[in-house]
């Protein structure tokens, strides 16, 4: 069908056979608005990767796609100018399901470069689907003295009710705050009143569409940003600005997998991971798979695959010493992943295996707390 826009603004679909070609429309002039700079405000860098915060209609498919770069975001959200001066780095324009470890590495390098250049903080605009993976990846790859804040929106930027503006303003405020780690800043509730600051390695998207989908898992949020006052409150466990020295370790081992166990799962599925350097399992409950899978896991481990157990419960830690199956898993060489989120464990595994080859050390590193991903104590309930 050909889509016709009527004078009233309505679109209708008509059979293309009934249409005659008249000519191309006049090219519309793209408006470039100068972004004002104020000397008394801190400098931030916005690195844009795409996602809903910067999406608008794609006439190719009729659906929403990512097209804005950081400059467009500033034009669309003038309130940001009250918070800081911005440098904008268009890194990618992808929906976050198309994110790859390769782009994480580019992102880490871009962020490193900006921090090295002396900005007070970084904002990374990102699609929400895999934002938690990217936040974890950057957490491991960079030691940052300044806030590195991921932000996105759950409702597309082309609607008046979009959460993009408030999230972006709160993210900018968090990026100028006393925070000194990688975080995600998104709506705290369905109201437009507060954003929460979540640790990059402990955050998860817990709802497919709500504004307040992002939740800190197993720990309290690092803090909050009130809206519209933009007041930032940090809790005591948030790493403070300047606490870490800037370093970049951007190597990743991509041959790692994440597999969710389910009742009746065939051992054949594990064969696909033969030759992989590492495999994270989201096991049931305390960290289990069925007994029938254990020989296959043992085989993987013997051939050099690092296997780490996490729990699909999302809350709580694994313990493979309680039941027989768990003990058999330990005997087979499976490493307990503590209270790590399965996704964070996967990203961590990529980083650990990218930077360390010694099997004993990699196992040790997987169980150590590097960036707040692995708590020694379970202080938090549901």
């Amino acid at each position: 069908m050909a889509v016709v826009k009527l004078d009233s603004g309505y679109n209708i679909g008509v059979n293309p056979v009934t249409c005659n070609f008249c000519g191309h429309p006049a090219e519309s002039l793209s408006k470039k608005t100068e972004i004002p700079q104020k000397n008394d405000l801190p400098d931030l860098s916005i690195v844009s990767t795409g996602g809903t915060i910067a999406s608008r209609i794609d006439y190719r498919t009729g659906s929403v796609t990512s097209q804005f770069d950081a400059g467009d975001i500033l034009v669309a959200i003038p309130e940001l100018a009250k918070v800081a001066n911005y440098r904008t780095i268009p890194l990618a324009t992808i929906l976050s399901e198309n994110m790859t470890p390769l782009i994480w590495q580019e992102l880490a390098r871009a962020v490193y470069k900006e921090i090295k250049n002396g900005v007070s903080g970084i904002i990374i605009t990102h699609g929400t689907d895999t934002m938690a993976y990217s936040a974890a990846a950057i957490s491991f790859m960079i030691d940052t003295p300044v806030p590195v804040v991921f932000v996105g929106s759950q409702r597309s930027a082309d609607r008046p009710s979009s959460d993009n503006a408030m999230n972006a303003v709160c993210a900018a405020s968090a990026a100028t705050s006393d925070l000194g780690e990688v975080a995600v800043v998104m709506h705290a509730t369905t109201n437009d009143d507060t954003c929460e600051i979540h640790r990059g390695t402990r955050v998860r998207k817990m709802h497919s569409s709500r504004r307040d989908a992002f939740r800190s898992m197993g720990i309290d949020p690092l803090g909050s940003v009130a809206y519209p006052s933009r007041e930032v409150t940090l809790k005591s466990h948030a790493v403070r600005r300047g606490n870490r020295k800037l370093t970049l370790h951007d190597k990743l081992e991509e041959h790692c997998g994440l597999v969710q166990f389910y009742p009746g799962m065939s051992p054949d599925l594990l064969k696909a991971y033969e030759g992989y350097k590492g495999l994270v399992i989201a096991g049931s409950g305390l960290g289990h798979v069925s007994t029938t899978l254990i020989p296959s896991l043992q085989k993987l481990i013997k051939r050099g695959t690092l296997v780490v157990m996490t729990s699909q419960c999302m809350q709580g830690r694994v313990c493979d010493r309680v039941y027989d199956t768990g003990r058999d898993l330990l005997k087979a060489g499976v490493i307990e992943g503590g209270d790590m989120l399965p996704e964070a464990a996967l990203v961590k595994m990529m980083w650990v295996l990218g930077n360390e080859r010694d099997p004993e050390k990699t196992a040790e590193l997987m169980q150590a707390d590097l960036k707040g991903e692995c708590n020694r104590r379970s202080t938090h309930g549901l």
């Binding site: 826009k5 679909g13 519309s28 209609i57 930027a157 082309d158 009710s161 369905t190």
Partner: protein, 617 residues
Amino acid sequence: MDYKTAGLTAGIEIHQQLNTREKLFCHCQTLLRDSSEHSGEFFRYLRVTESEMGEIDRAAQEEMKRERKFHYYTYDTTCLVEHDEEPPAPLNDEALSVCLTIAKMFGMTPVQQVHTMRKLVIDGSNTSGFQRTALVALNGALPQGGEIETICLEEEAAQRVKDDIFSLDRLGIPLIEITTSPCMHSPEEVQEVAEYIGMVLRSTGKVKRGIGTIRQDVNISIRGGARVEIKGVQELELIAEVVRREMQRQQKLLEIRDELLQKKGSVHNNAKNVTELFKETNSTILKKAKRIYAVNLEGFAGLVGREIQPDRRLGSEMSDYAKKCGVGGIFHTDELPAYGVTAEEVARLRAHMNAGVHDCVVIVAAVNDTQAACAVNQVIIRALLALSEKPVPEETRKMLETGSSAYMRPLPGAARMYPETDVLPVNVDDNRWNAITVPELLSVKAQRYAQEYSIDRNYATQLVLSEKLPLFERAVAEGIKPKLAVFTILSTCTELRREGIPVGKISDEDFLATWHAVESGRAAKEAIPDLFRGIASGSTFDEALRKLAPTVSFQDLEFIIHKIIEARSDFVLQKGQAALGPLMGVVMSEVRGSVDGKVVSEILKKEIAATLAAKRP
């Protein structure tokens, strides 16, 4: 008024809620709730966004003159779609079918593929900041002459509870929008067309009934004036009056412009901060104000206060414009001294503003400089329009109670339309279109009932317009006598309602059970009011039936009647068969309506005849 000379042109848009099972873009019921039943609430800010062509709609811009925070009530019958927390479900196919049926009734052409659009509405009535709407059919005809331009399927907006608080129960109910061409030239014609379209809509049996379920917007212009859309006319009877008053308003605005030109009126931005002048004022409004700004409108004396519609002046229009900045309104020297402002204060103000006798000074009271400047600027904009070539601005206005209207926002343009990317287009192919059967028009149905069932014409017309029409049709299909059903629905219920009986509590099932009881002789026709009184006060049908006098057997009845006649034999002898009427009443009250009147009358006739025969020599 001579409408032809004035060049009156009018069109209407009718918005009618559809009575579908689910809402247009989610699976919630189309159920209206009492706002006191809300189960939660949340709040949001809305921001103006560009159209996909990169433009900003002028109506949306106007709403955004001040930042607004909107509160929403949620219910256990609303879901995340109404909360703007979940993408919409596919377009409700039942609603599309109703829409296509109506399109066919007006002889329209359906669009081949229906595309849902987002119409930018940022007054808070839609959580998303837009109303989803789709053009479904084009080019229909009215039997009176004139055209139906388009039919659109839209989602209903949330209902304003008060100020910036909205209730989400109504949001998303399917709404059909029927737009006529500007084909009408008298107020009465507009009303007739509105009535006709309303009748066609109800003929589908798929539209909601009751106050607020149908709303008319009227588009009016006169020669030299401009197209003005007046929204939210809920009562049909007011349509003609709305048209008359808008004509009057446009004519007065034209007259005012001509006078202004004669008087060499002019408008400059000579706004001044006059807060100091009112430091000691007794006016409560001005005393509270942090900032008071004034502007002198040269040559406007007497005209700002000139009535343009009952209870509306040019000043009211300026006030409406200023209110967009959040101020409460304006004062002007045509109406001062008043409201606690003294003659001395007015004199000082005039002197301060260098106002001559032919000038009018307008003042605004605001909370800060930004708001004061915004409001005074709006007054200047409206004053400039008053003496411009087109002194009637193209506007969307809202109807006031009496039929006058107030400014809402500029007429929106095409820039407020944006494709709804979350909803897939729907094809309407020939098979679907051809399969649609057109229902009988209610006007035709009334005629048919009058003939087929020998019902009085007025009764038949009332019946087809009644909400109980489906009940009537069901009853007839179940073998109930049409006259019994009509009488109960129109007459009995009306009488009971007058008594204050809550007839609405009687379900269709109760109606049918009652009629079946009458038809089978278990209750008398005369007992219906008693039965209904019982049901309305909370009894089940069976309880109400039992509460009537115990059923009287035929033998008992004969005995009762015999006794009654025996006691009144003189009366019977004196009156002969004419005694039947009065005795009927006596018998019926004895058996408390539990017996069919026909049976009573037959026995009575027999007994009277027997008495007369026995006494005859």
